[in-house]
Amino acid sequence: MAHGSTTTVPEDDFVITPTRPGEEKGTWSAVIQDLLFTVDHKKLGLMYIGSGLIFFVIAGLMAAAIRLQLAIPNAHFISPDVYNRFFTMHGTAMVFLVGMPIIFGMANYLVPIMIGARDMAFPRLNAFGFWMFFFSGWFLYFSYFAGPGLYNAGSAPDIGWFAYSPLTSKAFSRGHSSDYWTLALLASGVGSVATALNIIVTTISLRCKGMTLGRMPLFVWTFLVVAFLVILAIPPLSACQIMLILDRYLGAKFFDTQAGGSAILWQHFFWIFGHPEVYILILPGFAAMNEIVPVFSRKPIFGYPIMVGANVMIAFISLGVWAHHMFTVGMTSLGNSFFAISTMLVAVPTGIKIFNWIGTMYGGKIRFELPMLFCIAFLFQFLIAGLTGIMLSVAPFDWQLSDSYFVVAHFHYVLIGGLLFTIFAAIYFWYPKAFGRMLSHKLGMWHFVLFTLGFHLTFLPQHVSGFLGMPRRIYTYEAGRGWEAWNMMSSIGVIFQAAGILFFVWNLIYSYKKGKIAGDDPWDAWTLEWATTSPPPDYNFEKTPEVRSRRPLWDLKHPEDPDWKYE
């Protein structure tokens, strides 16, 4: 379908500034002005993803420095303070400045087009959300320059991304580094809630004619659930951050254990945010899977209703599992049992999703294009992540595994093997839509092979060093504990991952100029975004579409056998 059609953007009288860097004759200042003032959901979406990728490279370099330090025992490559700042900034940035903006970017770009809308419901709120994230990101990094403050103590925050009290109190965190952490995340939280609200209103009220909730693409359904989770999860974080500021500057005693405050209170607040946050990050991965797997299997998603139900179930249960991060703090046996049970229940809807994706592939004609390769790798890796998650949910096992390298391996399998692989899949899948050119298959294969290899080489051994008692967040370790070989393997894996990322970045740049022209619908797909041009015009659709089933383009392409007959 539509192979070979060119990327002509329709004439539009309302376009005053150039729409795309590189395409127009505009000056740099015009481009910058355009990016600064735009309220277009597609540009904001790409700006989210672009800035997320920049932070990804910075935070990734920090991880590389961490692995270099841990390659051998008793290494002196970086000092303990620098190391502690690196893992704090790595974790904080990867969650708040890489994961969150990239998923918001995906939602921004795709949700309105997929539901046949012209933009988000509140375009200016949308821009506000982006700039809140963008500035709070740089504000966080600015701590490297400004952190020393009056006391000449501290630089970037070194309190871990979880910032457990009382390590964050004035007594143990002098200077202002912790305040940069608190204020940056507080500000980006405001932006996240604004964006989430926008996504909810857009999905509820801007769907095109005929698109009932039951016909909405699963991608959009998943983001609707994610947006609700964001609105429920971020406020507890903001609340405890405000309490922390009160503690630090106005003499409140919420977390001041010397004055009768509670260190565990912080953990409850943080993980009531922190656990749903994990699902906020992984559900968008599911969202991309839900669109990509059917297209490359040439079949509709297996069990649409139960997939929607599983999403909602996962989100609901995820609000009641937070204390499984706290099995070791000394809860009662009843408390431990409750949170172990609620955590295990998540396995059921998650299992359903994995089985349904395999069910979608079953009996299809699978095309092993790059997006699909990343999706298949996702299925394998996320299976491992899910199973190690079950091991961690068994509270007694967790008393051993918690805060060991096993946990590090587990959540990197979730966030890299799960989320990042689907982000790559999504970029290979929708890049042609956004830029009108295909990403190079050859460079993409290098990226896929090197990165997958490096990923497993880095994180598989960490399960074992965890079994052997290696704790997290240590800047060095003694020789003779049986950890040397595993750590060396881990560090070598980084080289492959970095090489893979180089191919990826080069592919993004190279294909922007030289990639094969994509046409409107290069994958022969079925959702509305493929009905418009690549890249889509500012207004997305000349005429608002009308749909009669979950796969409107299938109906168009197969008038003899349309979906709406079966729904």
Binding site: P80, N84, Y164, P166, L167, A171, F172, T257, G260, G261, S262, A263, R298, K299, P300, F302, Y304, I306, T328, V329, G330, S333, S337, V348, I352, F355, N356, I358, G359, M361, G363, K365, I366, L383, T388, I390, V394, A395, P396, F397, D398, Q400, S402, D403, V464, F467, L468, G469, P471, R472, R473, I474, E478, A479, G480, G482, A485, W486, H558, E567
Partner: protein
């Protein structure tokens, strides 16, 4: 090397007394590869803190449920991976010609979806039963008051150990504990055997931030939380020195907040206790005597305690029997003259960021104080 790589999967012993010969060969081999692992000759070091090689009752109970869960997860992994590999190899598109005709469009199947909902629910129920039973067994066990009780107090970045004896009960019937003697970092406890179990209960408290006490072969970890007392218990089956780490990030030197548990025969343990209770040695050697004067004359005494002297600080480790310990700086180095001297000169050299300041001592003072400390057996 291969043995070491595979060690997590082939634990050297699972039950008390089993696999002794295998164990000793293993440790002999290990001693060759790991030069850092040396301590007193009669008690082997156990630097490989393998959680699948438990040597204490709670660790073994965890181990049993862990093995069951790992096995279930392995089976699920193999089945689902098998399904994935099957669809990937069974249903590839056969090229452009094949692509023209779409495969049959299947939208779902209630029976199949029901099956892969119900089966995971059944597995989950099994896991829930195993988990809750083990939680109760370990957590709710009543430890007799006659057992050895040690209060473990986490500090940035070392462990204070107070050995306790019971001194009556309070109004609610809870035991009141009296501190017998205080030491640091190296926990000495008696070994248990089939005929007499000698459990130790640790009362975990923190002086500053959150730490976590973790010796994988003896028990899972328990957090050491300020303003919140936790408990854990151990009954090791084998003598030896067990290795562990602080397992909650607690600041700059979290990495070097190491744990050593010396499990001794009851006789050796009694000897050790008697020595710890004895007053500190008064040096006879003139250099050490001068060192004692330097020590008392400097602000060392504000942070460190030497029982029966003017040194009564409690911010740093109690040094009454400092030289009876095997490690220095909470495990950062083995005790020997060179490293003690290095530490006295500037603790930041061995342990950057440590809270003990550089005391700006002169070279002779450093020698004298080192000599004094080494007399504190």
């Amino acid at each position: 090397m291969i043995r070491r790589l595979l060690s997590p999967f082939f634990p050297t012993s699972q039950f008390p007394g089993a696999g002794k010969s295998c164990l000793s060969i293993f440790w002999a081999a290990l001693a060759l590869i790991a030069p850092a692992a040396v301590a007193s000759a009669d008690e082997p070091n156990r630097p490989i803190a393998n959680m699948f090689d438990p040597l204490s009752t709670p660790a073994r109970m965890i181990h049993e449920s862990s093995l069951l869960v790992s096995l279930i997860c392995l089976v699920i992994f193999l089945i689902v991976t098998g399904m994935l590999v099957y669809v990937v190899f069974k249903f590839p598109s056969k090229g452009a010609a094949d692509d023209r005709k779409e495969p049959p469009q299947v939208y779902g199947s209630s029976q199949i979806e029901l099956a892969w909902t119900v089966i995971p629910i059944l597995i989950t129920i099994v896991l829930i039963l195993v988990t809750t039973r083990t939680i109760g067994e370990i957590q709710d066990r009543k430890i007799p008051n006659a057992a050895l009780h040690v209060r473990v107090i986490g500090h940035q970045w070392w462990w204070e150990l107070q050995y306790l004896t019971q001194n009556g009960v309070d109004k609610e019937g809870n035991p009141v504990w009296k501190t017998d003697f205080v030491t640091a970092n190296e926990l000495h406890i008696p070994v248990s055997d089939k005929n007499s179990v000698r459990p130790t209960e640790l009362i975990l408290e923190s002086a500053d931030v959150i730490h976590s006490y973790w010796v994988p072969q003896l028990n899972g970890k328990t957090d050491v939380v300020p303003n919140h007392t936790n408990h854990m218990w151990l009954d090791p089956w084998s003598t030896g020195t067990y290795f562990g780490n602080c397992a909650e990030y607690c600041g700059t030197q979290h990495a070097n907040m190491l744990i050593r548990v010396m499990v001794q025969t009851p006789e050796d343990f009694a000897k050790w206790v008697a020595n710890q209770k004895a007053p500190s040695v008064i040096p006879t050697d003139s250099v050490a005597l001068q060192g004692q004067k330097d020590f008392f004359g400097n602000s060392c005494v504000n942070c460190h305690k030497v029982d029966g002297t003017v040194a009564v600080g409690t911010f740093g480790p109690n040094l009454t029997h400092f030289a009876s310990r095997s490690w220095l700086g909470s495990g950062v180095a083995l005790q020997n003259q060179a490293d003690i001297r290095d530490w006295v000169r500037d603790p930041n050299h061995l342990k950057p960021g440590v809270l003990m300041p550089d005391m700006q001592l002169s070279e002779p003072q450093i020698d004298q104080i080192t000599a004094y400390l080494m007399t504190l057996k």
